[in-house]
């Protein structure tokens, strides 16, 4: 059965190494030369609740996860109970041969509603309620079963490595599952060994025992099962790539973009970015320019100060304070943290301070679904806060884009002297994917009207001097003769408080004009990306991390003769109004795809352009759109014409 994509899944209780196993598996595939995309799902919990990782591997670039599972690797009963049903006919399940007699009613973390659903499903086909019954049910549908005696094999691992502690050995159960998976998929085991070495690099002993475990599992699979697992993929050519998560990519983007001050208050899923930055607070400098006097100043290395603040209010205001001294500064948060930041963002808008807020959206409202995905902060990012002030809002579609967009965010902030919101989300933060190695040469740093000195013979420096474009040359705190005043009150050109109506009008117009200038200056190519066939009859419009699943879906639908173009809106404010007005009406149908209830982009398009999209495909259960859902959803939209399609998959 040929397939260009294989979907592999591993699950288990949180705290048992599911993440690192998935990381090892995906890396092994990537080292082999395949593309990989990994999606992580977890509860707001430290230990015990069910988490799983879905990894899609392919010999062509892959941008999204899929609902169908080709190979499910398990080492606990809960993963079988929840996910066995997702395995396609011909696909396989790797499981603990000793677990088959366990009753599913004994799984304490399985929600009652899920238990009932499974029980009645089994009852309908005349089966009982054990793990073995589930396996039998799916076997009847054509799923292959691969029982592995984990306990026996762990004993062998213990003999081979001299490890006697049972707890240390049990930690290798998931490596047995990964070793079995790699062998069934016919990926050479040496790539798995390389991956284990990379992931556990600091711990030689751990590498050694895990390699032993992988080999023992591999040998067992080879001698006990026929080598006929139908889903196999082999790379066409091997090229070095990165396998990286969204939060790490953004953190690296910040280092390259010159961000030297970052604050945060711990929040899921944003904290990983700041923790990564703090772990890499000093970094090397590029060796390509040995003659630059800038490098001499730095004494061999650069650094970023990362401050964990007492709350998000402090986080945003520390950033603004730091930015006033000239440093590129940012904070990273999620929706609830951004709620607390809007007053501070308003002050930065009022005082024209360049600063960047990175938002990783998650399920809302309130605490919502703290570890799950949503795109709920689009309109809030643009309109949140009292009064009116300019701000730029951008959204990245995938991990690679996110890296390069960070530098753009800081450039916009400094050129237009305004806060910039960089919208990301949980799906992007916690996914890992293979991407081309980041090319720092593609990045340019533009600092706008930044002054390093002020000639006092030109008169007193005026921070908010009225200019044609609304942007005033900016000194930073510490500049001789460059003294300025800032206030959240309306102010005059020096920055002193005023309530004089004509001055208020001019200042308001000066500030708001900067957005018009940004709108005129920033080319459409930076604000919208077009994919698919531009002359197709149907247009998909979306923003953020839905990009991957949309691209994979429209590529697939082309094989069915359904042709789509896809407009990814990257700059949400100022909105690319002219572009939308020019091209949208030429399509037979326009379909908005969003991970929220109300269709916030569709609302924004209507507000900014008067254009009404024909269909909304939306989802708000906290799990990102899969390739499969958008494949079916887009087909549905154009064939049945439903104006609103809600997607609900995901465990």
């Amino acid at each position: 059965m040929p397939s260009t994509k294989i979907s592999w899944m591993i699950g288990g209780a949180q705290g048992t190494g599911v993440d690192s196993s998935a990381n090892v598996f995906a890396r092994a595939a990537a080292i082999y030369g395949l593309y990989a995309f990994g999606k992580r799902e977890y509860y707001s919990n430290i230990k015990g609740e069910h988490s799983y990782f879905s990894v899609v591997i392919s010999n062509v670039p892959v941008h999204s996860h899929m609902d169908e599972v080709h190979l499910l690797a398990t080492f606990d009963s809960e993963t079988i109970a929840r996910h066995a049903w997702e395995v396609v006919p011909g696909g396989g399940i790797i499981y603990d041969s000793q677990a088959v007699n366990e009753k599913i009613s004994n799984i304490p973390t399985l929600e009652r509603v899920v238990y009932e659903r499974i029980r009645s499903k089994l009852e309908r086909v005349g089966l009982g309620e054990t793990v073995g019954d589930i396996l039998e049910a799916v076997r009847r549908d054509g799923v292959r079963l691969y029982p592995i005696p984990y306990m026996e094999m762990l004993k062998k691992v213990g003999e081979a490595t001299g490890e006697k502690q049972l707890s240390a050995l049990t930690r290798m159960t998931n490596t047995l599952a990964v070793g079995a998976s790699i062998t069934l998929l016919n990926i050479p085991i040496k790539h798995l060994e390389d991956a284990l070495t990379q992931v556990f690099r600091a711990k030689a002993k751990v590498v050694k025992s895990n390699v032993a475990a992988a080999e023992i599992a591999s040998k067992y699979v080879k001698s006990n099962f026929a080598e006929d697992f139908p889903y196999q993929i082999h790379p066409t050519q091997k090229k070095n790539r990165l396998f990286i998560s969204g939060t790490s990519a953004v953190a690296l983007g910040k280092i390259v973009a010159g961000c030297r001050f970052q604050t945060y208050y711990p929040i899921t899923p944003a904290a990983d970015e700041s923790v990564y930055l703090e772990d890499h607070e000093t970094f090397k400098l590029r060796e390509e320019y040995p003659h630059l006097k800038e490098l001499e100043v730095l004494d061999g290395y650069g650094s970023i100060v990362v401050v964990q603040s007492e709350d998000e209010i402090a986080a945003v205001n520390m950033v603004t304070g730091a930015a006033l001294t000239g440093v590129r500064a940012s904070t990273a948060t999620s929706g609830p943290g951004f709620d607390l930041m809007v007053e501070g963002m308003g002050w930065a808008g009022m005082n024209e301070v360049p600063m960047v807020i990175t938002i990783y959206q998650r399920g809302g409202p309130s605490t919502g679904l703290p570890t799950r995905h949503e795109q709920g902060e689009l309109l809030f990012s643009i309109f949140g806060g009292h009064g009116e002030f300019p701000r730029i809002v951008i959204a990245s579609g995938d991990i690679e884009e996110a890296f390069y967009d960070v530098a753009k965010a800081f450039n916009y902030a400094e050129k237009y002297q305004t806060p910039v919101v960089h919208l990301l989300d949980k799906a992007l933060a916690n996914s890992n994917m293979t991407v081309d190695i980041f090319n720092v040469d593609k990045i340019r740093i533009e600092r706008g009207k930044l002054l390093t000195s002020w000639d006092s013979s030109l008169g007193q420096y005026k921070r908010f001097r009225f200019t044609d474009d609304g942007i005033s040359p900016r000194t930073v705190i510490g500049t001789e003769n460059g003294i300025f005043w800032n206030t959240g009150d309306e102010h005059d050109e020096l920055g002193h408080i005023t309530e004089e109506p004509s001055l208020r009008d001019r200042m308001m117009e000066k500030r708001m004009k900067k957005l018009e200038i940004a709108d005129a200056e920033i080319p459409d190519s930076e604000r919208v990306s077009l994919y698919g066939e531009p002359d197709a009859p149907y247009l998909v419009v979306s923003w953020g991390s839905t990009k991957g699943a949309i691209i994979d879906a429209i590529e697939y639908l082309q094989t069915e003769g359904l042709r789509f173009a896809f407009a990814q809106i990257k700059m949400l404010n100022p909105f690319p109004t002219r572009f939308v007005q020019n091209i949208f009406p030429s399509y037979r149908r326009v379909i908005a795809v969003e991970q929220n209830y109300t269709g916030q982009l569709a609302t924004l398009i209507r507000a900014r352009t008067g254009f009404q999209v024909d269909h909304l495909i939306c989802k708000y259960n906290g799990r990102p759109f899969s390739f499969s859902e958008l494949r079916d959803g887009l087909r549905d939209a154009v064939i049945t014409g439903s104006p609103r399609i809600v997607k609900r998959s995901g465990g």
Binding site: I255, F261, K284, E310
Partner: protein, 322 residues
């Protein structure tokens, strides 16, 4: 430095709209005198304020003046200082600003011990909103704008500062500018978080702890008032921690807290607690980032003249290469 800086060097021509007789004037001129005494160039000073009458202070000072949000003085000030530790950062704000809406920042800033000076204008009322009770007004007091006596107990700012970790804790009096100036100088020179609580009558809304009351006009002996305010340095009180011994530190803290509850007939001003042995946040950073002081965030070049990034991530990327 060619020109000697005087108090005038720190003045602006902006019209000052504080009420006549306001204690703010004394604090403003004490601060200007302190800066002049220390000869700190105005462009190396940032005065950061919150909201309220005291929030206007930066506009009257010729230095970088950052008039921020209600209660957020300290986060702004900390951001400025950590990005460029060469600056002298003075945070000013009211008691409502710092101990009410900004209390979380007040406590957490003590833990960090960032090298800045925080002056609280402590008058017991929210003046600009017409005299509501602030966190330092004692329970049961009914200042003239209050419809009912204050229902909340008061915060003790000195004790709170000590337990929060401020390493210089003092109290001044707005009408003793010479003394206050010296406290501010010591605060600026102290390498760490310095907190100065300044008792400051509000002539418009606080008709209880007035200038006359602090001055003891109500209890004259032979025609002479017996002031309530007295100076700690004129007694045998010593708030200075002399050795890096935790036991001594704790004893000095307890002594300061105990002293801070003295109120009513005798009200101490001066230095309650000082500890030079706690490293500042900047020193803590410099232990990890060894060139932090020579290349702090604000001073780091980030790009070549044609905009190419200077940072290299080549080595870091190795951990992700597959």
């Amino acid at each position: 430095m060619a020109v000697k800086l005087s108090m005038m060097s720190y003045r602006t021509p902006i019209h000052n709209d504080w009420c006549p007789g306001c204690g703010d004037f004394g604090i403003l001129s004490s601060l200007q005198m302190a800066l002049a005494d220390l000869q700190i160039p105005p462009h190396m000073v940032a005065v950061v304020s919150g909201i309220g009458c005291s929030g206007k202070t930066p506009h009257y000072i010729n230095a970088y003046g950052i008039h921020t949000l209600h209660g957020r003085t300290l986060p702004f000030a900390i951001g400025i200082k950590l990005a460029n530790p060469a600056l002298t950062v003075i945070a000013v704000g009211g008691d409502g600003d710092g101990l009410g809406i900004g209390a979380g920042h007040f406590v957490n800033s003590g833990r960090r011990n960032v090298d800045l000076t925080y002056i609280v204008f402590d008058n017991g009322v929210y003046g600009l909103t017409k005299g509501q009770a602030s966190p330092t007004l004692a329970r049961g007091l009914k200042t003239k704008a209050l419809p009912r006596p204050n229902i909340n107990d008061a915060i003790n700012p000195i004790a709170l500062a000590v337990v929060s970790g401020y390493t210089f804790v003092a109290r001044g009096y707005a009408y003793d500018t010479k003394h206050l100036k010296e406290l501010i100088k010591q605060g600026i020179q102290h390498k760490g978080a310095a907190f100065i609580d300044v008792l400051q009558p509000c002539p418009t809304y606080n008709d209880i702890t007035t200038k006359e009351w602090y001055g003891g006009e109500d209890r004259q002996v032979e025609g002479k008032p017996i002031p309530r305010v007295y100076k700690l340095e004129e007694t045998d009180y010593d708030g200075e921690v002399k050795t890096p011994d935790p036991l001594e530190e704790n004893n000095k803290k307890l002594q300061a807290i105990s002293k801070s509850f003295e109120w009513g007939d005798r009200i101490p001003i001066g230095v309650f607690y000082r500890n030079k042995f706690i490293p500042s946040y900047e020193d803590r950073l410099a232990e990890r980032i060894t060139n932090y002081y020579t290349s702090p965030p604000a001073r780091q070049p980030i790009a070549s003249p044609d905009g190419r990034p200077l940072a290299s991530i080549t080595e870091v990327l190795n951990e992700f290469i597959v």
